[in-house]
Amino acid sequence: MTLSPLILGLESSCDDTAAALLRGREVLASVVMGQNSLHEAFGGVVPEIAARAHAERLDLCVEQALDEAGVTLREVDAIAVTAGPGLIGGVLSGVMLAKGLAAGLGKPMIGVNHLAGHALTPRLTDGLAFPYLMLLVSGGHCQFLIVRGPEDFTRLGGTIDDAPGEAFDKTARLLGLPQPGGPSVEAEALNGDEKRIRFPRPLLDRPGCDLSFSGLKTALMRQRDAITAEKGGLTVQDRADLCAGFQAAVRDVLAEKTRRAVALYLDESPDTPALAVAGGVAANSALRAALQAVCDETGLQFTAPPLRLCTDNAAMIAYAGSELFAAGRRSGMDLSARPRWPLDTRSAPLVGSGKKGAKA
């Protein structure tokens, strides 16, 4: 039996610096160095600071990953690196290191799309077969994808404005709850009555799989102000009811749009139909239960990779790289860092182009 190739993965596209070693589907080491402390004062990711920190930390991450895996650089068969999309300074740091290693070791290098890393994670964690349906939530995007192969993705639809995480954050902001909004709104909603305050269900009246959450925050603000005007303030119960009503609206919209995406996906008669949900959405138990229910009623397997593999990491880059490596893909020394790199270049962009409709 021949051993699967040993792949070194590098990731530096946003605010986490990461390196991982992978053989087949076995993660030998996955090191993630966050930059939260560096960016905390800014309340967000500052591109220049991120680029500097990546350059300083990437080689330390690689060293630590090699140590943890108990292998040497010499044993590495190929180097997979995030080549985009992301903050250009950070991506460049990773690509430069990969080029240096590839040249020094005489080993092949493979440029990987960061979003493909996320989209292929269910194959690393659950061994899903192509084609599967994916609800991918990452960095302000939320999209339904049919994943047909390591480089073959079809976007069925997605948010045309705010991503769900942002809607939860802004709801928390409007109600004076702590950030991030996902966990705090969910906790409040547990004590609330979702039927007391009715929220709209955006875009349910329109065909297709596109999502819109921007209008919910306006609705929430109006309800909040109406209650405040009537009573002179919000009671703890009012706040819980607002959270419950808001979360129910997000849940219903996500579930119905998922149902439509499933229908389109099932038209292709997949042998082992499955839905994978990556990102914070699956961490909310109300949303997760609704998506699970859609899968139960349509006969799909439901998977949600663990959150640590849904946030940025290099194991997913190494895995995506291993699939591309097996398919014979190699990148040359002209590999460049790409700030934007859509997974599906055939379908029309969504965010901000909602009213104009598909142009493809």
Binding site: V46, E48, A163, K217, G352, K355
Partner: protein
Amino acid sequence: MTATTLTLASPDDTCALAMALGARLRAGDVLLLSGEIGAGKTHFARCLIQSRLDAPEDVPSPTFTLVQVYDTATTEIWHADLYRLSSPDDCIELGLTDAFETAICLVEWPDRLEDLTPAKALHLTLADRGGDVRQLTAQWTDPRWAGVLEGLL
């Protein structure tokens, strides 16, 4: 400071105005977008950016990333959300103050700029007037804006 107001009856009206204004902007123009959550700041910015892009692409909210930068044939467009910044100095670190000179800049929550607010900027304030209706107030001191806005407001 000169000021003028306009009622926008629908998100489409807001979008049409953003596109018409966008067509008249050049590098070095700074638009400061104020208004409560849900007033339509990001909607306005998205429409403007989309209308200036050579190839259509997603325009996600800059809430998480603080700044999104778009390349166009003539100039970069910077779309910033300063809500989470704690001090105006952070804007220098972000490169925003440099971009005020070299790019078209759309800045949400511009009150965070304090003393760094450029004198040449056009201030746009959106207010929720119920339903889909928004009121837009434009304010400026730089005489350039009177010409740019002619026929739009």
